[in-house]
């Protein structure tokens, strides 16, 4: 027996894979607690190796497992009670688990016999050794998990808020609204939701101002509430949700909760709503509070908890009927404040670069005062990106010299990879110097900061309603921000805060920052309020009402945009726009795009204009990037460049999948933005579908192919696994920075991409191994690449006709955001090109725009133009720029521009076109003047535009109305109508060759623009009944302000002062209609109208056929005819307006 075993042991090798797999078969079968192949199984074998080594060491050192030396121990002294403990110590007695192995032993009995023949397989000694190891492993993993739990509970208990748990719950039970105020580190954001959960509340929403906070809080709280792998705690942000039916606590953004209220007015899905960070006073948050305040009256059971820093608490409490406030102390370490105001000689004047000396002194001071082995990083707050790069440059020189610093910039226009570096760890003896905008004040929290240097400045966006312009200006920060910045130094230990201003400056700061609602355009807010039936925005009770002028501006703007009607009620397009989570302008484009066959490119453009530009600023100076980008550029405008870029990216995705990352890097593109675009694009598409603006596609054309479907299914499963794996690894992979880290970026001229490329080459291997491109995985999970490619290929090679139409739609969406090139631009340098908007003169194109490098395409071609006087050029090629944003930083900049033919675009989109008597002089929106050479041409152009617009409007209304009625039968016909309209629009855009001059009106001209109202007794007024019949539907009436005749909502005829003679008969000239046999003297207006209703013979026939074919045909006909009662022959007739005119004339001539 003994010899047997020895033989077995000799052949038994713990390290051999065969031997191990034999044991796996016994202990780790499919149904066992630990399964072969599972991660735990791997852990076990790793543990087993350690355990064996430990055992051998113990045996060598002579102290075996059974303690020999304790024999004859102290058990003799036992006094009171015998516990019945074994006399010999054995570590296994300390394990409270056992593995029940009778079946294993039986099996072993069998295999023992077999093993004798094969002289392999585990003997009983091996089995028991193995079992012991397994027990130790089980005990070890129990201890490990319990240790985590205990640590977690300890940390929770140590939070300042812990002792208020019962008090908070009591307040919530007793009061509808409770304010919890506590400073950084008190634990309110993570703990309060948990207290509610454990008290049995189960439909809790907790809003956050930032998406990233929703994700990280959901992660943390689900971990702390021991539900890391469940969905009790979830989050929901724009494109992602982890919410399931079992979710009890949901973190979501403020904007999203507002959208939910829009859909579900009483918000029945929640029992408790927590609004976190209310002190930050974001637009959505202020509005949300107002909405919830009204909601509370409807839902007395709803519980509302406001959480805030200890800032201005009274304001919130009073807004909610003196709600009780619970104040919790924060947990900050002491922070020493040092005021180091910048001496006057180092203060930069407005135009100069920042002087880096005060900042360098801080770095030097830290190096002198604190030994390098005392860790702690520096966080430096500056106002903007330009300031950051100035200081970064200077600090980098110092860092390279001392080798004690790694300098890292942090702002939102950096690539995400660059932003992420601030979380990495500096090597020993080296500190990070993070130079940041106010993004690090609240949004980004970096651990390990011990020193803060605060410039006291911030750049903030404000809105100038007069110029309709956003402005990015530098301000002193508020005391609240100042304290917040200081607090960043005391999160992990005592810290120091250097303030680059004096204490008296500090005292002069405003107490709080200006709330967002006072700074920004309120268009979207007002639109949303309207759609939520909140009544007059002016009387809505905001926590801190915005200036009424600001509301008024927004209402006017929405009216201009056609979202509100004259009574300030939502129009049908307005209702739709209110549902779209985008700017009104972008929403409008989407709706317009859906009418024509341009949905796919429009979806892309709308998505692209709604996210940050994917083009990284830093790589603009990089010649390699510029060359690689060149093929993507379109000189039609930035939206087209974005469209090209997206399409090219999708193609790369389809061909090379993960290779797109490299493709982007080479072109200086932030791929994250493209991922955002593709997600947003899909959301838009779904929204359009759900509003009936887009026919749902035939479902799954590849559905029949089973093999393919299965393939896709397995791929999805794999992707899901990858995503899960990635999520588990996350957080545990902070890298150690290299000393050269900051240097690279600096030396290559702040080209983050060259640096990354360099780095990528260096450690390609370990990158590839550990770094799954999680974005690529998510992308593949969310989108069907081939479907996307198909969609994109539609918009890949737009014909010039489609391009023209797309431009027009963009222009109509963007209207009134139009700019006119200055007349002297041809003589200016590329960089000095000047433009004018209606409300702001002298704006320039942002350097990121294609037009800044290629401004010639905006010039009137010399060959084509005729100078007809000073500052006046006659041409048929005048162009305007439609732009997305006008933002003033150091200069007012236009960005995201598209060029459009001026006359055509203005006639088709503008809100007001005024003319003189023969329509050769047009004034658009009271600021642009167009003078046409030929009255004949002028009339033709104007009348074409008017009829195109009428048809466009009719189809648009039908499209918008249809989605409510849901009449499918109309679709076929309206599609044909749409095709015809788009063809006509294109023809108008591309082939209108009318020579005209285009200029701004001077101030003097604007003053004396209109003739003004005419006395009723005017003899010529008697003629107007004729005119009133000209335009069915909108009967022309004298304009009470401008004078002349208001013919359509946008067109006022003959109201300009230079008009020769009002309604004068002498303007009538004989004219023969090319389409019918009409030949008679007509005024320009009459002629225009005749043209609008008289179609060429061919078209007419077709129309008649159509009307026979479909019911809806009659509606298109009936649009042209109207009931008319003739007083002379006393008959009721149904005639078109021209027919009426003819009819009347008959009587007139016969009477004469």
């Amino acid at each position: 027996m003994d010899s047997d075993r020895r033989r077995d042991s000799r052949s038994w090798d713990w390290d051999s894979p065969q031997c191990r797999s034999q044991l796996d078969e016994i202990f780790f079968r499919e149904n066992d607690y630990i399964r072969a192949g599972s991660p735990e199984h791997k852990e076990f074998w790793a543990f087993f190796d350690r355990f064996q080594r430990f055992k051998i060491k113990r045996e060598m050192s002579g102290s075996g497992f059974s303690g020999e030396e304790e024999r004859g121990g102290k058990d003799k002294k036992t006094g009171t009670k015998d516990l019945g403990l074994p006399k010999e110590y054995d570590a296994r007695y300390r394990i409270n688990v056992s593995v029940f192995t009778r079946d294993v032993e039986e099996r072993m009995g069998r295999s023992d016999q077999r093993s004798r023949q094969r002289s392999s397989g585990p003997g009983s000694q091996e089995i028991s050794d193995f079992r012991l190891a397994l027990l130790h492993f089980l005990d070890f993993s129990q201890k490990q998990s319990f240790g985590k739990l205990a640590k977690l509970r300890r940390e929770q208990k140590n939070l300042p808020i812990f002792q208020y748990q019962d008090r908070i719950l009591e307040l919530v039970r007793l009061h509808p609204v409770v304010v919890v105020a506590g400073d950084t580190g008190c634990g309110k954001s993570t703990q309060v939701p948990q207290y509610l959960l454990s008290a049995g509340f189960s439909h809790i929403a907790c809003t956050q101002p930032r998406r990233i906070a929703c994700i990280s809080l959901a992660k943390r709280v689900s971990f702390e509430s021991l539900n890391q792998y469940g969905s009790k705690v979830g989050y929901q942000i724009r494109f992602e949700t982890t919410r399931t039916t079992s979710t009890k606590l949901l973190f979501l953004t403020e904007g999203l909760l507002l959208r939910q209220i829009q859909q579900d007015e009483s918000l029945d899905q929640y029992q408790v709503v927590i609004v976190d960070e209310v002190h930050e006073r974001h637009l959505h948050c202020d509005f949300l509070l107002g909405v919830l305040r009204t909601l509370l009256k409807q839902r007395p059971n709803l519980r509302l908890i406001l959480m805030s820093a200890t800032i201005n608490i009274k304001l919130f409490s009073e807004y909610f009927n003196s709600a009780p406030v619970l104040q919790v102390p924060g947990r900050l370490f002491p922070i020493q404040v040092i005021y180091q105001p910048i001496p006057p000689e180092e203060q930069a004047s407005r135009s100069e670069k920042l002087d880096p000396r005060p900042y360098l002194r801080i770095l030097q001071g830290i190096d002198q005062r604190y030994p390098p082995e005392e860790r702690g990083d520096l966080l430096l707050f500056l106002s903007g990106v330009a300031e950051i790069s100035t200081i970064q440059e200077a600090c980098q020189i110092y860092a390279t010299h001392t080798r004690r610093w790694i300098v890292l910039p942090l702002h939102s226009t950096l690539s995400l990879a660059q932003q992420d570096k601030v979380f990495d760890i500096a090597p020993p003896g080296v500190r990070k110097c993070i130079i940041s905008t106010n993004i690090a004040e609240t949004s980004v929290t970096i651990d390990g900061v011990r020193f803060v240097a605060d410039s006291g400045k911030v750049k903030e966006m404000s809105f100038d309603p007069k110029a309709k312009m956003q402005r990015l200006q530098e301000f002193w920060i508020s005391r609240a921000s100042s304290e917040q910045r200081k607090g960043r130094a005391g999160r992990t230990g005592p810290g120091v805060c250097y303030r680059l201003y004096s204490e008296s400056d500090y005292n002069a700061f405003a107490p709080y920052p200006v709330p967002e609602i006072h700074r920004v355009a309120l268009d979207s807010l007002i639109l949303q309020m309207k759609s939520m039936n909140l009544g007059d925005p002016l009387s809505f009770v905001f926590i801190d009402p915005p200036p009424s002028s600001s509301i008024q501006t927004a209402v006017t703007y929405l009216k201009q945009q056609g979202a509100l009607d004259n009574r300030s009620e939502l129009t049908s397009i307005g209702k739709l726009l209110a549902q779209l989570p985008v700017d009104v302008v972008i929403g409008k484009m989407l709706v317009l795009g859906s009418l024509f066959n341009l949905v796919e490119p429009m979806l892309t453009v709308a998505a692209a204009l709604s996210v940050q530009s994917p083009f990284l600023r830093s790589s603009q100076q990089n010649p390699d990037c510029a060359t690689a980008r060149q093929p993507l550029h379109s000189n039609h405008g930035d939206p087209f460049t974005l469209l090209n870029t997206f399409n090219a990216w999708v193609e790369v995705k389809g061909e090379r999948g993960g290779g797109s990352r490299k493709w982007c890097r080479r072109r200086g593109l932030e791929e994250q933005r493209l991922y955002e675009m593709v997600n947003l694009r899909r959301q838009f598409k779904e929204l359009l579908k759900s509003h009936g603006l887009l026919e749902s596609e035939e479902t799954a054309p590849s559905g029949g192919d089973r093999a393919k479907r299965r393939e896709r299914l397995t791929e999805r499963r794999k992707l899901h696994q990858l995503k899960r794996d990635h999520e588990q690894q996350e957080g545990s992979k902070r890298k150690v920075l290299k000393l050269e880290e900051g240097q690279d970026g600096e030396l290559s001229g702040s080209g983050s991409d060259t640096e990354e490329r360099g780095r990528g080459r260096k450690d390609k291997k370990d990158r590839k191994e550990q770094d799954v491109d999680i974005q690529e995985v998510k992308f593949k999970l969310r989108h069907n690449v081939s479907e996307l490619q198909e969609a994109v290929s539609v918009s890949q090679d737009l014909s010039s006709r489609q391009q023209a139409l797309l431009k027009l739609l963009l222009c109509r969406g963007l209207y009134p955001q139009l700019a006119l090139p200055d007349e002297h631009n041809t003589t200016r340098k590329d960089s000095d090109q000047v433009f004018h908007t209606r409300s702001k003169q002298g704006v320039v194109i942002h350097p990121t725009s294609v037009f800044s490098s290629d401004p010639e395409v905006l010039h009137v071609p010399e060959a084509d133009s005729r100078d007809t006087g000073p500052d006046r050029k006659d041409s048929s090629k005048h162009q305007l720029l439609a732009f997305v944003t006008l933002l003033e930083t150091n200069k007012p900049y236009l960005s995201n521009c598209v060029r459009v033919p001026a006359l055509q675009a203005l006639l088709l989109v503008s809100n007001s076109v005024d003319t003189n008597a023969d329509c050769t002089r047009l004034v658009v929106d009271g600021w642009l003047e167009l003078e046409l050479k030929e009255p004949e041409e002028a009339l033709r152009v104007l009348s074409t535009a008017i009829s195109l617009r009428a048809e466009w409007e009719r189809l648009l209304q039908a499209q918008l109305g249809q989605n409510q009625a849901g009449e499918a039968s109309v679709q076929g016909l309206s599609r044909r109508n749409r095709e015809k309209l788009s063809e006509n629009l294109v023809r108008f855009l591309l082939y209108t060759e009318v020579v005209y001059s285009l200029q701004r009106l001077t101030a003097l001209q604007t003053q004396n623009l209109y003739v003004g109202p005419q006395p009723e007794s005017d003899s010529s007024y008697a003629e107007t009944p004729d005119l009133s019949l000209l335009f069915p539907g909108a009967d022309p009436k004298p304009d009470p302000i401008k004078g002349g005749l208001q013919v359509t909502s946008f067109f006022t005829y003959n109201c300009l002062t230079d008009s020769k003679d009002l309604y004068s008969e002498c303007l009538r000239t004989f004219w023969s209609c090319p389409n019918c046999d009409l030949y008679m003297p007509l005024t320009p207006l009459e002629r225009m109208h005749h043209e609008a209703s008289c179609r060429p013979a061919g078209e007419k026939e077709q129309e008649e056929k159509e009307s026979e074919g479909g019911r809806a045909g009659s509606s298109s006909m009936s649009a042209l005819t109207r009931a008319y009662h003739c007083d002379v022959c006393n008959e009721d007739l149904t005639l078109t307006s021209t027919e009426i005119l003819k009819h009347k004339r008959q009587h007139m001539y016969s009477a004469k």
């Binding site: 516990l83 403990l85 739990l149 899960r724």
Partner: protein
């Protein structure tokens, strides 16, 4: 509505350190553990730190001498063939083997050094 259906969670609380956490099973044979048996009646929950749903975690049990409810933390209890709360261990320290006694004194002195 849902709240009404919801069964109140059973909570385990250590009578020495106050640690408390919901538990899902009390006994010696947690569900789905196959060959594994506990050598004492334990308060058990699903291991919240493991992605696998069948992994269990022992929170604590009752002291075999005084029936105090204690968690498995080495500050509160000790298992040596049976569960003993720390109070009972200290009372009967002499009956425990040398190794354990040494370990406990070492731990106590290191604790004293810290505080």
């Amino acid at each position: 509505m849902d709240e009404a259906i919801e069964t109140p969670q059973k909570t385990f609380t250590c009578q020495l350190c106050g640690l408390s956490s919901p538990f899902t099973y009390y006994g010696q044979k947690p569900p789905n553990t196959r060959a594994i048996v506990l050598l004492e009646e334990c308060f058990v929950t699903k291991d919240p730190f493991s992605p696998e749903k069948d992994k269990f975690l022992v929170l604590g049990s009752t002291c075999s001498l005084c029936s105090l409810c204690v968690c498995v933390s080495s500050d509160c209890s000790l298992f040596y063939t049976k569960r003993f709360c720390m109070q009972c261990v200290n009372k009967h320290l002499d009956q425990f083997p040398q190794q354990i006694q040494a370990e406990l004194t070492k731990k106590q002195s290191s604790k004293a050094a810290v505080s």
